[in-house]
Subunit: 254 residues, 2 copies
Amino acid sequence: MSGRLAVIGLGPGDPRYLTAEAEGALTDAQALYGYGPYLDRVPVRAGQSRHPSDNREEAARACDALCHAAQGANVVVVSGGDPGVFAMAAAICEQIATGPDAWRTLEVVFVPGITAMLAVAARIGAPLGHDFCALSLSDNLKPWPVIERRLDAAAQAGFAIALYNPVSRARPWQFASAVERLRRHLPGMTPIIFGRAVGRPGERIDVTTLETAADQPADMATLVIVGTRETRIIARPGHSPLVYTPRAAAEVSA
Amino acid sequence: MSGRLAVIGLGPGDPRYLTAEAEGALTDAQALYGYGPYLDRVPVRAGQSRHPSDNREEAARACDALCHAAQGANVVVVSGGDPGVFAMAAAICEQIATGPDAWRTLEVVFVPGITAMLAVAARIGAPLGHDFCALSLSDNLKPWPVIERRLDAAAQAGFAIALYNPVSRARPWQFASAVERLRRHLPGMTPIIFGRAVGRPGERIDVTTLETAADQPADMATLVIVGTRETRIIARPGHSPLVYTPRAAAEVSA
């Protein structure tokens, strides 16, 4: 009996973002595991069991899925976006590292997907057109000073910054605090993009500036992109503006 | 006469990485523009003109494609990976910013794709499982000291680092110099992943350490991922190892 675990990325939501490889993994699966709202995006297929779980239960979900695959089933764990970017791939690896020996001989594959920052960037132009970083503002698994240090480093060195998990009900002040921190390094006019529910019903893209960013509503479905000193906005008659970071970078000021 | 320009990402190469949206754009196109080897990955369709160009001709290619679309054609510009990550989206925006007014009223869409770092990460586990950055080592469009400053900032602050364009024939020393720079901040045992031609013939993944990374062959088809102090390797009997960066981060040491 040889089971198989595939950890796949659904992309931002709409089926148009799904890759052929992810589609194939979903078709072949005997059991699906994932955060409930992500599982809801997967069409029901006869003969597949579905195991939704809560947002905070990543370790338990990883365990359950590995157990199930180790019993010989073809199991798929679904992530929104890309499984390797603030999602299930790391949680699965953590369990494999400390779990029973059998989990280290299991066939495990990771199937990439379109992560939120790429989808939001594509909607508005090319704000990540040069060097950039991806940073989660959740301080559930790392101390807030680590996040502040990373904000400082990225902004000072001229990276564009994609902020994942900017706000949640349990973390109401972190985003405003991050914006204040970034103001130490970047001009108030630095372009900021808020992409909410991109590729899903209720999609919304707003372009604002660092100066007013803290007033903009954001939630866990929002991905924020912070531009650099070089990021520019192109106004377009009859079209939404384009935002891009040029490929050429000047000397970084000290 | 209303033209349309779509700037699309093919992903790493194999059709299994193509999204449904990118596939649709390719089907509808009247003209295809792109770097020759990327265009070669797109099946020939009757009635589509193909306009390959050289690697270094991004600005001219963007101009040509915009001109063609402004004449009323449905034009697609293809990028490998994601068009917004060290690829054609920024080059198109740069031309729109400075080109004729008509280019700013044109319908332009960007179609995201699986960028190389996500494909390489998926092949080996979850090395980008926590905060990370993407940095091009090409100093064609930015001074080398800017790159050094970004390497310093990213390594010191605990980001995993995806290095794009590590080496080319015209830039033979930059990668070894970057490795030397990273050694100032990271232990010699820090895991380093070399992903070459992922999703294409000749694919190869090698895991090494920062200490020996400079001896590893790399070229323009290689994407390098530099782990953090927390990145771990799981040995697996009968399988290739998994490399992952845990979701939890401890305090960054000074």
